[in-house]
């Protein structure tokens, strides 16, 4: 926690944006550790892959397009903004005074809805990982919404910066091109990443299909898969990786993922249940739930991976 505070302070002070990006990556890793301490392994997974991995790559991509030095604004010191932030912080701290103490077994959150999740999800859904049961089934609709948030973000990136190319960026592109070239000639990077990438992809598949038993699921799997892929594109070439998976395909997968999720919901609806009722998908309730969760998690994985790769491609096309 102290490290996190120190890092964020450094981020605010530092003028070199390259350093800032590195520090935010570190910040994400540390918060991932914090999540593990808080027993939220699934969140930690996502934070490590998104915050420390993909977000850093994307921010570096942005820096390559713009500049890595922050311009110091002339307008005086933002005293009012600082005062506002401090006031908000104080109000937040004031609010914590009446919060139940950390780890208090009598806190309201442990006594209202949680007991049923813990006690009955075994019978009702039949999965050992309660987190997955809650995310994918009890509150499956929220998860559907979140996948659509990611879908929206990817489409938004396509729409805003997926514009036809313009001439004035050429100089920057060349610079990035040289950097790329340099990386490809680096034998150590090439060999190590070639060794690692298959494992990363296999691990992603494991996280995908094993999410119902251990921590993990579609979100994490999708991101890990995408990061393996992006690593390849970074070390070798975006064009080479585009030959493996053309951007039309990622776009299609992006759409198919959310459609699969929604489709499972509609299937429940057609078989006489409400939207997203997986129990009616098979003869037995738990079998239906299991099938439904497996399918929707696959849908999540598809969309998340495709979204990340799409965003990366779109950024990279700006450079190339």
């Amino acid at each position: 926690m102290v490290f996190m505070a120190a890092t964020s302070f450094a981020v605010a002070r530092l003028r070199n944006l390259f350093g800032v990006v590195m520090l935010t990556g570190i910040f994400s890793l540390m918060s991932a550790v914090l999540y593990v301490v808080l027993d939220a392994v699934d969140v930690a997974f996502t934070e490590a892959a998104v915050g420390a991995g993909i977000a850093t790559v994307l921010m570096l991509g942005t820096l390559a397009l713009t500049t890595s030095e922050e311009r110091v604004s002339e307008a005086g010191k933002p005293v009012w903004a600082l005062a506002l932030v401090v006031a908000t912080g104080l109000v937040l701290i004031y609010g914590t005074f009446d919060m139940p103490p950390f780890g208090d077994p009598y806190a309201p959150i442990h006594h209202h809805v949680a007991p049923r999740y813990l006690e009955k999800s075994g019978q009702e859904i039949g999965l050992p990982n309660v987190v997955t049961s809650v995310l994918a089934s009890y509150r499956g609709y929220d998860t559907l919404g979140e996948v659509f948030v990611i879908f929206t973000a990817a489409c938004g990136v396509l729409l805003i910066i997926g514009r036809p190319k313009r001439g004035r960026r050429r100089t920057l592109r060349m610079k990035v091109g040289e950097m790329r070239h340099g990386m490809r000639q680096n034998v150590i990077l090439r060999v190590v990443s070639k060794l690692l990438i298959p494992f990363i992809l296999v691990f992603a598949l494991y996280v995908q299909w094993h999410g119902d038993f251990g921590p993990g699921g579609g979100f994490q799997a999708g991101i890990i898969f995408a990061s393996g892929f992006i690593l390849y594109a970074l070390i070798f070439d975006v064009d080479t990786s585009r030959m493996v998976v053309p951007s039309g395909v990622t776009r299609l997968v992006l759409a198919l993922g959310v459609m699969l999720y929604t489709g499972v919901g509609v299937a429940g609806l057609l078989r006489g249940g409400n939207f997203l009722n997986y129990s009616v998908l098979a003869e037995e309730q738990t079998a239906g739930q299991h099938l439904g969760i497996l399918l929707i998690e696959f849908g999540v994985g598809l969309t998340v991976a495709a979204a990340m790769i799409t965003i990366f491609y779109t950024f990279a096309r700006q450079e190339h």
């Binding site: 009446d98 309201p108 209202h112 809805v113 509150r139 805003i160």
Partner: protein, 493 residues
């Protein structure tokens, strides 16, 4: 049988159609899909409103998991009415959008635009329909993200800055909201609105809940552009593509007002939030400042779209004023104004869209002689302007009448004065446009008469016509608004 599934279909159809647009990749096909889906959604919303009217609240547990374990849709008169407003505007915008979007957005991006439009529609409907505070946040994110993207598509380069600013402010708003929700969850262990309403009174005195309420108020205040949190709005509305401005101005802030009402009257319904502290007074003062301040600023605008945007901030002031009275009449005034303002402001921004389509600019000096050059569009603008001012027989009059009545009931003379002053200011800013358009000769060398295509004029006149139809015969909307207001004051069921 299928009717029982309408609550889910209301949102899911639009959600499902968005990826379909992405796959189709053809502008016309995407437009056709979006049009059909919004029209079906309107039909569903109307039938839901009819059912709520006859049989009362509809509950729809997602995945058949009963609340509070699962997520439940809870539709009463208030949100059924919101659903109708959103889908109605959405359906009228679609035919208008075809020509307007083709003129303002590059062809290869149009299919993605409709994808965003559908997501935005689904997001707004999801906010309006849900009975779960976290689910509301998820759909708030969908609708916000898609609206930032749509705003950034404006032809003017400044659209990007406007969208970015809105993104920063909107994200702060959403974060504040989710902090508030997190604190409520910590103290109650539930996210379901009805469930929260029953548990909250017991813990309402805790500082955590008080802070939560503060964060929720500021967060939603940012979203609905409550003065002084409105700074994102003028640029966003001015530089967005016309169809986007129409849709967002008529629905986006309205849904945020609805969420505000929902949190205050339903979730905190069991807690007497309005008796403690000075919340009503603060809201009323902010509302009055918005009504007068924004109207004054509107007078000095040279961009007519921006003028209307400031007028929107003033109109949001009316809605908040109605809320701050905490009476059935005041709240009914707000709810009916949600509908009335949506149709008249939608109509006025459509008129802007037509002018932009033909003239290419909505700067005031370009309006010279427009009364002769685009008679049908300008007539609609004047008619809509009357409604904005609150001339009798228009919807604007109906809402103001009830707000004034509510203020009189409370003995708030200053509020009555604020409403009157703000209406007078509206006369001035509408008159400025009318004067330029009708009393100045058209610039030399301009075409005689050239009107926007029918596909744009018909939707325009539908909205303007509606603002007279519901102004002359307001019984239906008023009945709904009063029943809705009474439901909100009723015991949380």
């Amino acid at each position: 049988m299928i009717a029982a599934q309408y609550p889910a279909l209301q949102v899911v159809l639009a959600l499902l159609a968005a990826p379909v647009c992405l796959i189709l990749r053809r502008p016309r096909a995407a437009w056709a899909v979006a049009t059909v889906i919004t029209w079906i959604s309107l039909a569903i919303a109307l039938s839901l409103l009819g059912r709520v009217w006859e049989t009362g609240v509809i509950l729809y547990p997602m995945g058949d998991w009963a609340a509070p374990w699962g997520i439940e849709y809870q539709i009463d008169t208030v949100n059924a009415f919101m659903l109708v407003i959103v889908t109605l505007i959405g359906s009228v915008v679609m035919p208008f959008a075809r020509a307007s979007v083709e003129a303002e957005i590059e062809e290869e991006r149009i299919y993605l635009f409709y994808c965003m439009y559908l997501l935005n529609l689904a997001g707004l409907l999801g906010i309006a329909i849900t009975g779960d505070v976290f689910n509301l946040f998820v759909f708030l994110e969908i609708s916000s993200l898609s609206s930032y993207v749509m705003i950034s598509l404006g032809r003017d380069q400044r659209a990007l800055t406007a969208a970015y600013r809105y993104l920063v402010m909107g994200t702060i708003g959403a974060t504040f909201y989710i902090i508030g929700v997190g604190m409520m969850y910590m103290m109650t262990g539930t996210l379901n609105m009805a469930d929260l309403a029953t548990i909250l009174p017991a813990v309402a005195d805790s500082r955590t809940i008080q802070v939560a309420l503060g964060f929720l108020t500021v967060g939603l205040g940012l979203k609905l552009a409550l003065f002084p949190l409105h700074l994102w709005l003028p640029n966003a509305y001015t530089y967005a593509p016309s169809a986007v401005t129409v849709f967002l101005a008529a629905t986006g802030t309205k849904v945020a007002v609805y969420a505000f009402i929902r949190i205050f009257f339903t979730v905190f319904g069991g807690v007497e939030v309005f008796n403690a502290g000075f919340i009503p007074e603060i809201l009323a003062v902010l509302a009055a400042l918005a009504m007068i301040g924004a109207s004054v600023v509107a007078i000095y605008q040279t961009d007519v779209k921006r003028l209307l945007a400031y007028s929107s901030i003033a109109q949001i002031g009316y809605m908040v004023l109605g809320i701050s009275m905490v009476t059935v009449t005041g709240l009914a005034g707000t709810i009916v104004h949600l509908f009335n303002h949506a149709i008249m402001k939608g109509g006025l921004f459509m008129a802007m869209g037509c002018i932009l389509f033909k003239i290419g600019s909505v700067q005031l000096d370009q309006f010279e002689g427009l009364g002769k050059r685009m008679p049908v569009t300008m007539a609609a603008f004047v008619a809509g302007g009357f409604s904005l001012i609150g001339v009798p027989l228009t919807v604007g009059f109906v809402s103001k009448w009830y707000l004034v009545q509510a203020a009189l009931e409370k003995g708030w003379w200053l509020a009555v004065a604020a409403i009157l002053v703000s209406s007078l200011l509206a006369v001035i800013y509408i008159w400025r446009v009318v004067e330029v358009a009708y009393f100045r000769p058209p610039p030399k060398g301009s075409a005689e008469v050239s009107e926007a295509p029918l596909s744009m004029l018909v939707p325009l006149w539908i909205l303007i016509g509606a603002s007279y139809y519901f102004g002359i015969d307001a019984t239906r909307t008023l009945d709904i608004a009063f029943v809705a207001a009474e439901t909100l004051f009723g015991p949380p069921q």
